[in-house]
Amino acid sequence: MKRYWDIFSKGLVLENPIFVLALSLCPALAVTTSVVNALTMGLTVTFVISMNNLIVSIFRNWVNPKVRVPIYITSIATIVTVAELLLKAFAPLLYKELGIYLSLVVVFAIILARAEVFASKNRPVPSFIDGFGMGAGFTLAMLIVGVIRELFGNGTILGYTVLGSWYPPALIFIMAPGAFILIGYLVGAWNIWSARIEKAKGERGETI
């Protein structure tokens, strides 16, 4: 159980896909203008990355290493299309707002990277958990960015007014430059936080 927790939790902080690995940044900036969008995107990516890890891991012994990348891409593209069609059917408004960024989940480096680094070498259950952990880390990062941008840029969270009429919304948070600058500082904060975690682990004598 502990082993599975370790596989799951490394995606959350120490190998956070957005703040540490700096992979799949495009959506982190593009769709985090509101919490709902950020959450939808995060859940979609979690779904795609865990399913893809599962499938790649199940078929890992039948795939010829020479053609592995095209096969991974086809598998990812299929799962993304499934997710797209599901969203289109059940949440058409969200589907419209996410627009092409939803299709672009196909080329997220993080998904291909996990398939290549982890799922192609491990059994299905750990692979699924690894994908789920990475997805959760991604969703967490998206939520942090989404909450800050919606709160300061619009004065609301999930559409409910939080900061009253005394707060003039700082539009820059919703616009492109604000996203870049905010992520810059969040990366800095993340570096400080994970350095603390590693230090604490080192003091307890655990290997990282």
């Binding site: 299309t81 430059p177 800095g188």
Partner: protein, 192 residues
């Protein structure tokens, strides 16, 4: 004619793919540490986007639409572009080894990249005809090249600066990109 010129300028500065639409950020932050590499990457991306948008347009309008399978757009575009880039790499390697030395590595990096996939998808979504698709793709490529070269110049100067340890590297790169995006925001409203 002026319509196409406006489309081109719009794609280069106003709807700059990196700084206002956040596409291609992985390459943008990954490669911009080095000025020469950035210039090479900018050119390679421009060439690949322009040509692959032609293929994507043809595939969409002559295969996907007549067969009524537009829900397969994502899969088809990804495979089409990835195989096209691989093919281009082989052709360049065989016929112009010098060019391959300069570009080869970038070609492989952009085989599956958001900016290269995003432009054809946006073209299809906006319902552009072939000429407009090509102009838009070329403009987007030039915009990408402009952004990455500007970024690389800033980051080369940054080596001499004293950056706080936690922001060093990626953090400060984002903040610079934010400042660049802020200045590009000045172009918005230039063309209605």
């Amino acid at each position: 004619m002026s319509e196409y010129l406006l489309l081109f300028m719009g794609a280069v500065v106003i709807n700059n793919f990196v700084l206002t639409r956040f596409l291609g950020l992985c390459i943008f932050f990954g490669v911009s540490k080095n000025y020469d590499a950035s210039a090479g990457m900018g050119m390679a991306v421009t060439a690949v986007i322009t040509i692959s948008s032609v293929f994507a347009w043809l595939a969409y309008n002559y295969i996907l639409v007549p067969l009524n399978v537009t829900f397969l757009t994502t899969i088809v575009f990804v495979l089409l572009i990835a195989s096209f880039v691989q093919m281009l790499e082989m052709i360049v390697k065989k016929y112009t080894p010098n060019l391959h030395k300069m570009w080869g590595i970038y070609l492989l990096l952009i085989a599956t990249n958001c900016v290269v996939l995003g432009v054809p998808l946006l073209n299809v979504e906006s319902g552009f005809n072939l000429a407009k698709s090509v102009v838009n793709a070329f403009g987007s490529g030039v915009g990408f090249a402009l952004a990455i070269v500007l970024m690389a110049s800033c980051r080369e100067k940054l080596r001499l600066a004293n950056v706080p340890k936690s922001l060093d590297g990626l953090g400060v790169a984002f903040i610079i990109a934010g400042c660049l995006a802020l200045s590009f925001l000045g172009f918005s409203g230039m063309i209605k």
